[in-house]
Every structure is written in structure tokens, then in C-alpha cells.
Point group: C2
Chain length 248, copies 2
């Protein structure tokens, strides 16, 4: 879908820092007449938009009444009115977050759409700890899961995940970390496998915690966090580097 | 690692289109005195750098003599000389591509470093086909593998991967696609599972191919391709959308 033709752009906002938006994402924000956005970590992202752009917080947090259907309907309404609409989503629009359901609504309405991919926190979070999600000697695969389950959503197959091993990146997993650890160990993953977690990645208040899978439930991990399970998590334990990262 | 302190920046160049670099990546490129880059898909990315920046192609393609050790040594050499060095890597620096090995060399040399995460083709490739890598009703996990094996690299556990299912994104898999299909079916994944592949994603010559896992080996997929195995691949089969994407 070409830039000129697209009425509704699903735009990845990246992990939070406005510096990690793509060039295209910044351009779409500056062009937008209407912006429907998630509850973002950094308000500076929205500051990139025109002062007169209509900003609508459709964050689906606790106590909020925005359903996916209502978001879809609003996207279609503004798209039909011919407005340049940006649906701004944390991370990447098509990695969790129900982006394709929004596209389905646009397609059903006959509206032009595009996806502007973004930097996922599944990569940026580990990177902020110095943790690569793959490493040729220790991790040939990386699997991303989320502990945020929408209604009707299937639970990941934790047994199969434990058997696959490699690197497992858990999004939205701070509250459920004890259960994640228990299920992976029950599935056969060694309790000694290193784990690491980052809260507020790349921000001044970034915190890194590390340990082993057996202790995941008792590690002091605060939301919103990205948790890495696998041998690559050892890199977060390098004290000198962690200190340098924290001082940045 | 702060921007000011970092001597060597590992920068994700994204999937190819310069529009999909992050704002920080563009800034680092403009500041760089020395750029060590992979063999990029789009030379327009390098055009963002200063005209007088030293550009060194360290692409490790067939017939090339650049070893990882030589790249590491050159990063250290330029870093020690106090030059602003950018190591420009396709996609994200820490998803395949041996980025952490380069960081290890910098750490051993006592040099400051940073990682600027990028948009991975593992997300941008599927998105260019309209394929979300997760979907709440059909895929709760996404696993990324590569068929490009460096020396000493472990092979993914294809049996465990087949058992996990969800979405499997295969990078650098065009040449090995018959073997990938055979191993996943041998591991228990249904031969009827949809597959889709995109070559030259988001470029004027983008090509999308789709079918079922049983036929993966005989589908006309050209390198460099991103292959998606899993129910979400059905989205690539929507003819109207595919046509719209192709015309973009």
C-alpha cells in the first residue's frame, strides 16, 4: 500500500524512546490529522505530531472501557471521512497487540491501509541489558511470548517451549513470572537456566535483574518488564557492563 | 552506554528501506567517521552518511575473505583511535549476525559501545505481506530461526519447533526451504499448515509466494526471502490485498 494511497497507517512506536521511531513513523505522525494511540511510555512520542492533530488515547488498561470493536469502528469512521489517520501502537504493530484485527476491519470497510513496522521491545529490551537474543554458540532460536491474554486467546504451549529452549522472550510477564518459571521447569527446562529482566529499558530509571529460572518467581521484577530466559541472559550478569548501562 | 561516551555504535539498519532506519540510527550514521557495513540491500542507507566518512564493506558473502575476527580487530583499531565508528548491520544488531561477539571484542579492549536496535526483517518481511506474526486466535508465539549457519553454530531443534508450532519465521531460508519443510513435517507439523514467503520485501520488485508446508520445497522462492510457516500465513493468500501490495 503506497504512502500516498494509505488513509490509515498502523505505525509501530517502538519501545518508548522517540529516538527509536523509524523515519517513516515520524513522517506519518507529522502528517496525521487523527492519532489513536496506546497508553505510551513516553509522551515525547506524541509531541512529534502536529499541534492541531486530534489525539485519542485508546489505551486498554485497567478500568478502561475501550474495546477492540470500538477502536476498529473509530478507525473506520475517521478513515471513511478521508482523514489521515495514524494508529500508533507500542513496539511493532503486528507483534501482539491485535494489529491484524484492526486491518481486517479496514479491509472490510474498503479502506486503504499500511503497516509501518517498528522496533519491538522484544529486541530493544534485551539489547538495553547487553543481551543478544541469539548467539551462534548458545541460542539458535528466539521465541517471543506474551503473558497478556486477550479474550479468546490461546495459551502458549509451555511444554513445547521448554523443550525447544533457545532464547525465550516474555513480554508483559512481570506479574506472571512465578507461573512462567514453574511451567518452563515443569516442561523440562533446567532450573539453572539464566534469566534476566529489564524494567523501563533504555530510560534513566532502567533496572536490570538477573538470576536463574528456579528463582524467577522471587526476583524483584517490576512491570512493565521484558524477561529473557536462556543462556544469553548470562550477558546481563556482567557487573561492569551493567553498571555502565545503568550510568548511561 | 550514553551517546556521548560511545565510541563504537552497533547500529541496526532495518530491513533495507532507509525510511525504516530509526531516528537514532540516522543520527549515528551522520556522525560517523568510519562505517563498517554489511552488504546492504539498499545503497541509499549509506548515502545518509557524511561524504567524507570512511566506508568499509565487510560483507561476508561468497568469495569474501572477511572473517569475524578481522571485523572485530578493525572495530577495535578504529575505536582505540578515538574515531566515531558505526558498525552497520542489517535488521537488528542482536538478532543473528554475531553482534554480541563484536561487543565482546570491544569490551575486552576496554572500549565504550552501544547498540541501536533496528527493525528486523523477521517482522518487516511478514508485515509487507500483510501477515501478522502473532494473532490472538491462531498464534500465541513467534519463533525466529535462520538457515545461515556460522561455523560452530548449533542447528535449531526442528522437532521441538514443529511441536511448538505457532508462527515460525525462517530467515535466509530460500535455498534450504525443502529441508525446512521436510524437517518440520517429520517433527509432526501438519503438511497442510499454510506457508508464505516474501522476496525483496517493501521494494518495487517485491514478490509474495504462498502455499502449504508440504509444498514448501517446490514453491518458487528466491533469495533473499523471509518465509513464514503457520496459520497467520493465510493472510498472504488474500488475492485482493496481495495485488494492492504489489502495486504499491
Amino acid at each position: 500500500v503506497s504512502a500516498a494511497a494509505a488513509v490509515v497507517s498502523l505505525v509501530g512506536a517502538g519501545p518508548g524512546d522517540p529516538d527509536l521511531l523509524t523515519v517513516r513513523a515520524v513522517r506519518r505522525l507529522r502528517e496525521a490529522e487523527v492519532i489513536l494511540h496506546d497508553r505510551l511510555l513516553d509522551p515525547a512520542v506524541l509531541d512529534l505530531a502536529r499541534p492541531d492533530a486530534v489525539r485519542i488515547d485508546v489505551g486498554k488498561g485497567p478500568g478502561e472501557s475501550w474495546t477492540q470493536e470500538r477502536i476498529n469502528a473509530l478507525l473506520v469512521e475517521h478513515g471513511r471521512a478521508g482523514r489521515r489517520v495514524v494508529r500508533l501502537k507500542g513496539g511493532d504493530p503486528f507483534l501482539f497487540g491485535r494489529g491484524r484485527e484492526e486491518v481486517d476491519a479496514l479491509v472490510a470497510a474498503g479502506l486503504a491501509w499500511e503497516v509501518v513496522p517498528g522496533v519491538s521491545s522484544a529486541l530493544a529490551g534485551p539489547a538495553a541489558m547487553g543481551v543478544p537474543v541469539t548467539h551462534r554458540r548458545v541460542a539458535a532460536t528466539v521465541t517471543v511470548v506474551t503473558c497478556s491474554r486477550a479474550a479468546g486467546e490461546a495459551d502458549p504451549d509451555w511444554d513445547a517451549l521448554a523443550r525447544l529452549g533457545g532464547t525465550i522472550v516474555v513480554l508483559m510477564g512481570a506479574a506472571a513470572r512465578a507461573e512462567v518459571g514453574r511451567r518452563l521447569v515443569a516442561g523440562g527446562l533446567s532450573p539453572e537456566v539464566p534469566v534476566a529482566a529489564v524494567t523501563n529499558a533504555s530510560r534513566p530509571d532502567q533496572r536490570v535483574v538477573h538470576g536463574r529460572l528456579a528463582d524467577l518467581g522471587s526476583l524483584p521484577i517490576e512491570a512493565p518488564a521484558v524477561i529473557v530466559v536462556g543462556e544469553v541472559a548470562r550477558y546481563a550478569a556482567c557487573a561492569a557492563e551493567a553498571a555502565a548501562l545503568a550510568a548511561a
